[in-house]
């Protein structure tokens, strides 16, 4: 079985199995799976408004997925995407609110602030890992909580005066697109989707085509061999976390400058960062895979909202389906085994 084929087959089969299992659960609970999935489809792609919503939901997933995938490909497990996303969100909005600048400067500056904040949030676990061998999973999880409470504190006490949210970002820092609004019947789709696709190309290019990517991958696979080859292992570990954090921070900017147009208090995590782990896993940690998996996740999340309305199926079912898909991807060994059995029988 060629590697290409199994790279593609595992996620596809996993999604199918997840949907089938979801159908069985609907049947057992007394719902009609056909009308349930029809409602899901209509809610995700039924008309231009829903398509817009799906693509909008997809945007931060791309960034979160790229962040996780980038770290993973370089041998690191970044569980801190959620926190990096939150600080990126706030940094983007802060710059978006505080300055009066022409759009051509203001928007890039806000995005840059988001990337820098996320990068900083990745820098800390990166340094701790490189210098003191503290495992990045532990530090990034802790950094998530620091980010959550710190951003809440800043929103309430520093940027606003005891209010629940910041002002809306200036027009010159906004990602909103009147073109998309007219095209998609006033969905919240914004220009961030372009940036997401560009980011995917950048991640692919950086990892596969540059000497930097070569070093990062090499260090991820074998620190000893990389050191032997004269690479600076510590620097590469830090760099990898910084770049991953920057992707995550930009994901936050999508929410802050696009979807919501402001930053507000979070009682808990947004979940986007954690979903990024699932997106990366489903996408095989490749840029193109992350984009496709983001589309699927966006469609499932947005389409789910229509299920109770159109077919009476509770939208939590989609969470179950997502969990099952991840379960099947994680047990890809089993799927590969099944596929090879089928192949054998054909002979």
């Amino acid at each position: 079985m060629s590697k290409r084929f199994s790279n593609l087959a595992v996620p596809v089969v996993s999604v199918l199995l997840g949907l089938i299992a979801g159908a069985i659960i609907m049947l057992i609970s007394g719902y009609d799976p056909i009308s349930g999935y029809a409602a899901l489809w209509n809610g995700a792609f039924g008309d231009s408004f829903y398509v817009g919503e799906t693509l909008r939901q997809m945007t931060p997933y791309i960034f979160a997925g790229l962040a996780v995938a980038f770290a993973f490909r370089t041998g690191l497990f970044n569980i801190g995407v959620e926190g990096q996303l939150l600080v990126g969100w706030l940094a983007a909005v802060w710059v978006g609110v505080a300055f009066d600048l022409p759009k051509i400067i203001h928007l890039p500056l806000s995005l840059l602030a988001a990337a820098a904040a996320g990068a900083l949030w990745g820098l800390i676990p990166g340094i701790l890992k490189a210098r003191l061998h503290v495992h990045e999973v532990i530090v990034t999880i802790m950094m998530n909580y620091v980010a959550l409470h710190l951003t809440n504190h800043l929103i309430r006490n520093v940027i606003s005066d005891q209010s629940d949210s910041t002002e809306a970002v200036k027009e010159t820092a906004s990602l909103k697109s009147s073109f998309f609004e007219s095209l998609t019947d006033f969905s919240s789709l914004h220009n961030g989707i372009y940036l997401g696709l560009i980011a995917a190309v950048i991640m692919w290019f950086m990892l596969e085509k540059t000497t930097l990517g070569y070093e990062l991958r090499s260090v991820g696979y074998s620190q000893h061999a990389s050191q032997y080859a004269g690479m600076n292992v510590s620097r590469n570990i830090v760099l990898s976390m910084v770049i991953s954090g920057a992707f995550a921070g930009l994901g936050g900017a999508m929410e802050g400058l696009g979807t919501f147009g402001n930053a507000f208090l979070h009682s808990g995590f947004s979940g986007v960062g954690f979903d990024g782990i699932a997106v990366a896993l489903l996408g095989g940690n490749a840029a193109i895979g992350v984009v496709l998996a983001s589309l699927l996740f966006g469609a499932l999340k947005v389409g789910a909202l229509n299920m109770p309305i159109e077919s009476g199926v509770p939208n939590e079912l989609v969470e179950i389906v997502i969990a099952l898909i991840i379960f099947f991807v994680a047990s890809s060994y089993m799927i590969k085994w099944l596929l090879s059995r089928f192949k054998k029988e054909e002979k």
Binding site: S2, K209, T210, T211, L212, G213, Y214, E215, R217, S218, Y221, S222, H224, A225, S226, Q227, Y228, A229, G230, M231
Partner: protein
């Protein structure tokens, strides 16, 4: 004659690449049966088929005359087949006993009965003269001991048939003697053994029969009593092999490497190199010979910048390179064939092609302005693979999938091709077949004749005597003698290595 194992007409492919083609191997009860073949001939593959790690495309396996479908290693274990792999599979942080019982733990009321397990491990260890401490941590014991743990693992699972994949490649000469003794005991206790080795001497010493394979095809089986090393070598390579490499008298020129009273600590902080002095000239091969653990590794690491020197100086063509970063040392013209090819020499998950530019990827023409030029990278890889006869399905194959010997050839090709002023070769021919050894030795001598300096570190006295122009004996972190290979003997070297005859520093011409 009764066969315990019969592998008949085995064929195994990897994505269309035929690694085994219609190979037959029959193992008699109570014999040591050698499996001989060049690097990449398909020996490990064949044994992995027998052990259930790979499924053959064609052919049949019979165990005790009955047809067997060995679909995974557990089935192999149940059939009494055990394997000691080329690269060990032990959990470093576990004790010997914990490693051995892993997956087959004796239980007492839901809990692991570790006392009982230790007792049993001790019993087996004594029965076969293995002398393993069941309570020691694997990380703390020597490679030779770790290998015995692997042997114990198979015996604990009731193995009757043992497969050894290149067991002696990682051992010191003394450990090899002990292993041979252990194998003889195993046979006496009624076991049967398949032994993969490239060392014809070992085959002549312990084996009863030899099956030879060449490029994936079975050449045949011969009785050891009716053959000799030359015959075996030609069967395996398909041509005559010379064991003694021809070379002219060395013409040493100026100093390339100059080491003055060097002190280096090892990873645990113990002084491993203690005031070492050594000079290597352009146009000569200096062989360092010594018992493992006398500071060889630390010496190399200090020269290449992988380990800090405490004091002393290292000069390369007169320039001070003491404690430079590895990259700087490399750029000054030092190449290094590392002792541990898996740990240092290769990024195993990279394609073999990308491994060929591990130190040069950032230079032109392999990249420009930070962007890799894969065309150039793979052009170079293709050329090296051809020149150094690296047997691989393609240059895109991950290094991990290459046979052990071919990984080594790839590293050597990469390092020699940089045409360095100083080439450090640590155990360059470990795990290579006789044909490849001959080839590598020629390359080292070629470097010498191009007026480059070569520093060879090897535990094989044959190799040291064969190709060095001068031999430096290392003992407890010091060079204790410099001898002329033409005027010394294995006996004298043995004594010097044991530290019994320390020459006065004054009379030494270092």
């Amino acid at each position: 004659m009764e066969y315990v194992i019969e592998m008949l007409g085995i064929r195994k492919e990897f994505n269309g690449f035929v690694a085994n083609d219609d190979i037959t191997l029959q193992l008699r009860k109570g014999e040591i049966h050698a499996l001989l073949g060049e690097n990449g001939a398909g020996k490990s593959t064949l044994m992995n088929v027998l052990f259930g790690l790979y499924q053959p495309e064609k052919g049949e396996i019979k165990v005790h005359g009955k047809k067997a479908d060995i679909s995974n290693p557990n089935v192999a274990n149940e059939l009494g087949i055990g394997m000691v792999h080329q690269h060990f599979m032990l959990v470093d942080t576990f004790t010997v006993t914990e490693n051995i019982i892993l997956g087959k733990e004796p239980k007492a009321g839901g809990k692991i009965d570790i006392k009982k397990a230790e007792q049993k491990v001790r019993e087996i260890s004594e029965q076969y003269g293995l002398a393993v401490d069941p309570t020691a941590k694997v990380a703390d014991i020597s490679v030779g001991m770790q290998q015995r743990v692997e042997i114990l693992k198979t015996l604990y699972r009731g193995a009757e048939i043992l497969i050894f994949d290149e067991p002696t490649a990682v051992l010191t000469p003394q450990e090899i003697k002990e292993l041979i003794q252990i194998m003889k005991t195993l046979i006496k206790e009624g076991k049967s053994i398949i032994l993969i080795t490239h060392k014809l001497k070992e085959i002549m010493e312990v084996c009863d029969r030899v099956t030879v394979i060449r490029k994936g095809k079975g050449i045949g089986t011969v009785n050891v009593s009716e053959t000799d090393p030359n015959h075996l070598a030609s069967l395996m390579v398909g041509r005559e092999v010379t064991f003694k490499t021809e070379k002219t008298e060395a013409q040493p020129k100026e100093n390339v490497l100059e080491i003055n009273s060097l002190f280096v600590k090892d990873a645990r902080g113990i002084q491993a190199v203690r005031g070492l002095n050594l000079t290597v000239h352009a146009g000569e091969i200096v062989g360092i010979c010594g018992v493992d653990g006398n500071g060889q590794s630390e010496l190399i690491e200090a020269i290449t910048g992988l380990q800090k020197a405490e004091s002393g100086s290292i000069l390369l063509s007169g320039k001070d390179i003491t404690n430079l970063k590895p990259r700087k040392v490399t750029e000054q013209g030092v190449a290094h064939i590392p002792q541990d090819r898996h740990k240092h020499g290769l990024v195993l998950d990279f394609p073999i092609g990308e491994n060929m530019v591990l130190q040069t990827y950032y230079q032109q023409p392999y990249s420009k302005a930070g962007v890799l030029n894969y065309k150039e990278i793979y052009k170079k890889a293709g050329r090296l693979i051809k020149e150094y006869d690296v047997r691989t399905p393609s240059e895109y194959t991950p290094a991990r999938a290459l046979s052990g010997g071919n990984q080594q050839k790839a590293i050597i090709g990469r390092e020699v091709d940089r045409d360095p002023e100083l080439l450090i070769a640590a155990q360059p021919t470990r795990g290579l077949d006789v044909g490849a050894i001959e080839f590598i030795h020629k390359r080292l001598i070629e470097q010498r004749d191009k007026e480059k300096a070569v520093l060879l570190i090897s535990f094989e006295l044959d190799e040291i005597l064969n190709i060095s122009d001068r031999i430096a004996v290392i003992y407890e972190g010091e060079i204790v003698a410099i001898v002329d290979p033409k005027e010394t003997t294995e006996q004298e070297l043995g004594l010097l290595m044991a530290g019994s005859k320390r020459k006065e520093a004054g009379e030494m011409n270092v």
